[in-house]
Symmetry: C2
Subunit: 382 residues, 2 copies
């Protein structure tokens, strides 16, 4: 089991309980995990050694909400939106048609390329949802493509009702044969609880069926207007309620009391020209906040967690420290994984060497690629 | 004189008058200039050949407003601003102190690194201002550092009144000995017309003195509140009025009638949490709009024109086409240079090969590095 010493770290963000940020630090990775954290004045034995010359080291980003497997793009819809046309959930059907029409190898090449782009920009853990197939075969192959890229695969058959179907019979399909087909490949289930997608009782049915098969639960909640999504997530004990753009004080209380993570996706609000989620109210009331890209061709075609952090500081009122926490441990909480998103001993050896004197530069230098190196599971991948 | 054929271009944005965007195109660069533009079905002779495999090609970005030569950073001020402290012009003095204290080789290394970062992200032409020296020697060495990086060097002695000086005697210095010292190195002059910096008559004096020495004129105008800057720029026949965040309808009319370019810097408005400039009103009334980064440690620490384009679409109401035009020919107009920012025959051979099927992706994929190759003056530099 080979070990790697990363030393001469100017600023280390480890999220250690006693010392979340330390200066002049070093880290040893072994067997893909953090084996030791200490001062760079100490030189523990290791097989290999990287001197980062005073750079900043932070945990790799955990992007807990993406839709990376799809055909086509929606640049025209994006342009129309800039010209004033509002976003509606129905646009998803455009991508469903393009995804169904695309051969699997091409779907895989495209998703792999986006995953590589995400990794290059610092995302060491990625969640991927299905939801552009909406047939048994197309949902299954979407999740199988996702399975080549990540352990975090979410079945989102309940994304929209596909063209030519009615809601009732489509839901029977989703919670019956479709769930049967994907249950061995997916690790979680999600549903889009929104006008134009699915209502509360429909989502509850689907999500309960998934939970009964041992899948973790996420909910697309309160994206386009106030609604029952957040409270549904709370009542189901979901891992996360995602979007939360239009949550009320009662929704926030329910999320906090149920320990549901609020996954905020400001890049989607940027792209759809929506108002931004009330992150300050969520954080101040004690809800765990995660940041994610929501990477998808309709409402947020970015893989950049750095961009999301900068937006979160400008538009969500998070401090750079809160934003980085939300992009790392927050994301890990949304995936229900406690050994990710931090650099305490035992955590996955996922870290970023930043070309900056402080993590603050992630927000201070928007649009700039500050990632000098990416280490994932103890391996240098950039 | 070696020539380079760039062919198999899927979409070429040349800003040709008859055909600003064409498909299946090719370009020949020779002697650092565009020598031929045509169909990729034709194969003109050239010494070297690059097949870009259907990628999009656009002119290199022209960033017409930066402050790249400085010491220190202002990450703490940035964090304080996120916590609610408003931006004020006085923060400039922090950077003045750090710049004066920094040896010239280190200033040069830092500026060179930022210029390289800008080039890597697609900026093939860069303007650099002084204004963090504010002594004869420090302004001169700032412009000498800029001279190692660009032909577009702007003397901004009238940035703020330095600590320990009074405005009247400092202005005598700026338009006298300081202007004498820098006139051979600078190509343009600028002044910060704003409460807390210089008033209209002070700016007019300094700018007129520079114009009398043959320097082109720019004005930092109407950044923090309404004021006389834009009208001053118009009355002086300046190349550009920069910022224009708080311009009135009368200001807009004056800019248009005088042919002054409005250089908009939305990344500064992003960083200072300011309102955004009325770009739509400016463009609709016929003012030439340029987009620039305003890269500086106080209010906009980004070199990314891609980020600026994405912001301009989200926040300024520009279409992706208008934003790209403003980031290329708009910038060239702000620098008074007609052979830049487009790819018509005779233009500088500055172009970007984008990893995207259309220039629209520059706005559609915010935060993502879409630049696959950068060609500057006919040479492949990335």
């Amino acid at each position: 089991m080979s070990s790697l010493l990363v030393t001469n770290i100017g600023q280390l963000v480890s999220w250690d309980a006693d010392q979340p940020i330390r200066e002049k630090a070093a880290v040893v990775l072994e067997g893909g995990r953090v084996a030791w954290v200490g001062s760079s004045a100490v030189t523990p034995l290791a097989d290999e050694r990287i001197d980062v010359d005073g750079a900043t080291v932070v945990p790799g980003f955990v992007d807990s909400h993406t839709h990376l497997v799809f055909g086509g793009d929606r640049a025209e819809e994006f342009e129309a939106r800039l010209a004033g046309k509002p976003y509606a959930a129905g646009g998803i059907r455009t991508t469903v048609a393009a995804t169904r029409a695309m051969p699997t190898p091409q779907l895989r090449v495209r998703a792999t390329r986006l995953a590589a782009e995400a990794l290059h920009s610092g995302t060491t853990t990625l969640e991927i949802k299905s939801g552009y197939g909406l047939t048994v075969a197309d949902e299954l192959r979407s999740l199988e493509v996702a399975a080549t890229l990540t352990a975090h695969r979410t079945f989102l058959g309940a994304h929209v009702v596909p063209e030519g179907s009615d809601a009732a019979s489509y839901l029977q399909l989703v919670k019956g044969p479709m769930l049967d087909a994907v249950a061995g490949v997916a690790s979680a289930i999600d549903a889009f609880c929104e006008e134009g997608a699915f209502d509360e009782s429909q989502c509850r049915e689907v999500l309960a069926a998934g939970a009964a098969r041992g899948l973790a639960v996420h909910v697309h909640a309160n994206q386009l207007r106030p609604g029952p999504g957040a409270q549904l997530a709370a009542s189901l004990g979901a891992l996360s309620a995602d979007h939360c753009t239009h949550v009320t004080d009662d929704d926030i209380t329910a999320l906090r009391d149920a320990g549901v993570v609020a996954v905020l996706v400001p890049a989607a609000e940027f792209s759809t020209r929506s108002a931004y989620a009330p992150a300050r109210a969520l954080a101040d009331s004690g809800v765990t906040v995660a940041l994610a890209t929501d990477c998808n061709p309709g409402t947020s075609f970015t893989t950049s967690m750095g961009f999301v952090i900068a937006l979160a500081c400008r538009e969500l009122g998070l401090s750079p420290l809160e934003a980085l926490r939300a992009a790392t441990t927050g994301g890990a909480a949304a995936l229900g994984q406690s050994d990710l998103g931090h650099l305490r001993v035992g955590a996955h050896g996922d870290l970023l060497v930043l070309d900056a004197p402080s993590y603050v530069h992630l927000a201070y230098r928007p649009g700039v690629d500050l990632v000098r190196h990416v280490i994932r599971r103890g391996e240098v991948v950039r």
